[in-house]
Symmetry: C2
Subunit: 199 residues, 2 copies
């Protein structure tokens, strides 16, 4: 709920809810959704558990806020890439770039997206699974078109899709540990390693 007051306010509404969501993402990353209690979260916020419910409706709402927002970000980014008229290799480079951008902006939330999506309920679970499947299928089709145009070596398609996606999906685990690496350098090196190989 954005701007739910009588007097209109310039910007940055609902920041208390966002603070809770951000704090929750950090805890979910450390222990997983199921192992984090509302009391843990309240302690991290410096308040009591009951007070959380003035800002959020349920623990489940926190999880879906984290995950659905990120999944939509990936979906939007992928759609732009798919609808561009770049080569397959350029599209893959843009996908790597997309993952790095999202990881820099919200690496905590990506932990939930990767490990706790199965705790989403009802419609949100179905919605997430559809976005995830579509994302993978778009990725696969880009790889296939790259093989067809001889841009990509004709290895087993599924292994290419899996190995590349698994690296991009676990960036969130690794990036925060790297102290002195800039986004542009990271993109360049990831493209080099993922697309051009080690040897």
């Amino acid at each position: 709920m954005i701007n739910s007051r009588k007097t209109p306010v310039p910007m940055k509404q609902e920041s208390r809810k966002q603070e809770i969501v951000n704090a929750a993402a950090i805890l979910f990353k450390e222990k997983g959704y199921s192992a984090v209690t509302m009391r843990d979260l309240a302690t991290a916020m410096g308040i009591k558990a009951a007070s959380l419910y003035n800002h959020i409706q349920s623990k489940q709402e926190i999880l879906s806020t984290i995950i659905i927002e990120l999944a939509e970000e990936f979906t939007t980014g992928m759609n732009q890439i798919v609808n561009s008229d770049h080569s397959a290799i350029q599209k893959l480079e843009n996908i790597i770039s997309l993952h790095i951008d999202v990881t820099l902006r919200n690496s905590d939330g990506l932990a939930s997206l990767n490990n706790d999506w199965m705790h989403l309920e009802e419609d949100n679970l179905l919605y997430f699974e559809k976005m995830r499947n579509d994302y993978e299928e778009n990725f696969r089709q880009i790889v296939i078109s790259g093989v067809n145009t001889n841009e990509i070596k004709p290895n087993n398609i599924e292994i290419i899709v899996f190995s590349t996606l698994s690296t991009l999906r676990t960036l969130y685990l690794w990036y925060p540990k790297q102290k002195n690496i800039e986004a542009d350098m990271l993109k360049k090196d990831m493209i080099s390693v993922l697309l051009k190989g080690l040897v």
Copy 2:
């Protein structure tokens, strides 16, 4: 139920505990350690929760049985590879092979090793973390030696280590979905994709 008789039987002791551990690994893979209850596990085994405690001491013991055994398997395998006199590339190929072998044998347990190790307690947590750090450091040193002998392109070392390990560590998520791929073919293709690149 195997071997539940008065007369002693040659081999395969404690199989009831192993059945419980195996059933638990499947459930832990689906929902994570914290979200799986002893009632869930008992239902999967076709008994009541209280009956589980005739075979195991605690839920925690199940988790540590799954994880520590696998971690020791990786540690043993890595030590053999490190102490061999192969080239860096050959060592990396053997590491890929090790991961594929372990994944084929126990892909369910690998989910716990990857996602639920932080729920280990006390000594087991420290023991696990030491094995994991040592494993990564051994991996890193092999990559470094490969760069020094010009076997491996001098990209950012950490990116090479991270991208390769993240693919190998998430094999368990992907392999069971592949119907018609044999271990040898998988090894060959993984080596090709991970070491020689896509382009």
